[in-house]
Symmetry: C2
Subunit: 375 residues, 2 copies
Amino acid sequence: MARPRIESVGMTRFGKRDVSFLDLIAESFEDLCSRADFQGADAIFFGSMNPEAFCSDGNQAVAVSDRLGLTGLPSIRVETASSTGAAVIQEGARAIISGQYESVLCIAAEKMTHLETRKTTKILAEVIAPSERMYGATMPALAALITRRYMHEYGMTREALAKVAVKSHANGVLNPYAHFQKNIDEGKVLGSKVVSDPLTIYDCAPISDGACCAVLSSTRGPVRIIGAGQSTDTLAVADRQTLTSFSATRRAAARAFDAAGISPSDIDVAEVHDAFTSFEIIGTEDLGFFEPGQGWRAVECGATELNGELPVNPSGGLKARGHPVGASGLAQAIEIFLQLSGDADGRQIDARHGLAQSLGGLANNNFVTIMEAVD
Amino acid sequence: MARPRIESVGMTRFGKRDVSFLDLIAESFEDLCSRADFQGADAIFFGSMNPEAFCSDGNQAVAVSDRLGLTGLPSIRVETASSTGAAVIQEGARAIISGQYESVLCIAAEKMTHLETRKTTKILAEVIAPSERMYGATMPALAALITRRYMHEYGMTREALAKVAVKSHANGVLNPYAHFQKNIDEGKVLGSKVVSDPLTIYDCAPISDGACCAVLSSTRGPVRIIGAGQSTDTLAVADRQTLTSFSATRRAAARAFDAAGISPSDIDVAEVHDAFTSFEIIGTEDLGFFEPGQGWRAVECGATELNGELPVNPSGGLKARGHPVGASGLAQAIEIFLQLSGDADGRQIDARHGLAQSLGGLANNNFVTIMEAVD
């Protein structure tokens, strides 16, 4: 099977940004053009979770092609809740594999911080099953439930969980695109406001604005996509067999590794969807990096730090890079691209194979994308 | 290039339906299963224009896989405003062509009628460029502007325009899935309420609920997709060179006919996006069926009627079948499938090649899909 390459990437700094949705996208495209020569594309694959609710604008696939001066190109929006950015790159890759396009421009963005938090929280909660939402379930509440169960089953300490956030912030300091570029310590995490017990505000990814983009090509670029997998789970958390593992990640990973022809031990660097600190730990287990119940111990012993045996979220992750929901999945792939192409500056890891994993909704539309440095 | 086939299809009756969004989708899937044996699929491609605004629910790609008992399958939403249903089938077809999937389930749906018309109109207007929306432009207002210009340039009479609606309603009578199944005459069209001069309420497709689905396969099915094209135009109508032709349709058609290796004169039946009666006429010109300015004369002489030389919208079109916005593009392809496979009952046309054309927004994200009966 043909293996699409990533040719070039661009990003805005994530964070509280006082510019419009389309201006953010234009800024990320300018960043791409400043890093590499943009040689055109045959189509645009665009992702955003909910610009209609966040920005009161529809038809954004066209707004984007128009704004970038690319009118005429096919432009399509894809959406899978908070994994939308990962869906964008996998759809773009599939279009290259189909042979219909030789290069595609992938774009993912979200503008969220201009709304009141209460309004944003309501929009974000619309991804939850109505049967659970009707009782007031929010994303942090469901994540807290899962975290408690994980602590109960595997004996994870609250302190180990805090170390995930400390690590993410330390990495964010080294990433000029990150929302947060400030170190924190365990005490800060443990002592901050409880969002939903046991999760404090430092266990939760922030609400951010941001955009990013990447050109995929059939022939050009220093990184190739060698495996992609996607799978869904039940909409309601209550309908699942277990709380401490996400079956959609496991199935997506199996497909991606099968296509790639490598195994989890071959991965040198990973970006794992850490909308909540506990989700990073569960993710590293579902991806096969650690046995069930061992992910938190890996954090505790520093295995996932930048200089550990398997660096996880060198970008700072959703926690510190920020989480403009529809953009995060593509931002993860961009970090892997930067790592594999040797452009990750102060957070550079010596890596040949990288992996990005993204969760949609409450982990029910998950993607795993495996990349390799071209020799 | 591999040419994906359409194996089976299903639809709800379109109209004012007092059931939920997901129940509509389930009903269309049941219709598919009652018509043909559902042998499973490797993935779901789902389209809806704005279920978040219409139904206050997000994450609907997962809600759909869950509701249909297909949890685990990759499920992705695509969206291109009112051409979403066409985007769904083209993305599904591309996935088959890529070789990654052998069969995919395409689903498209919208639930609109439960909201107040004022609220629905506001949601629909969000596809218009902000620079035009801010002055109160609505879809019918912009369509009226285009219609007046077409009348001015080509001398089209108001009576000819009315004949489009009369024809659509006559065809709708023969379609058990149509929103309207009642004949009207020219006097009814001309004498009814003016929405935006010169368009009366019978020139505008109705607000409808509805869902439809189709299984695409790499090897099975009586109809194959032989050409697909998509192109965009400027978001703002004011930025275009002409009002009386939609360049995105012309480019999409050129790509589709090029891939298909046939020409407009080979088409035996077409479904053309008639959100407004004048758009059907412009569409038949942009698709190359008639010369610019001749489309209205073709209507006048009956060439696009069911027994004419090129039947257009045998289903009743958006006008009479109804227009649940995100579903219409797929419903068009389903009508062509039924015509080419000999299952169109009382409206059956003797046809080997069929074409479906869909407009996104104010004709700025347009799709053309060409199908052929398998020998």
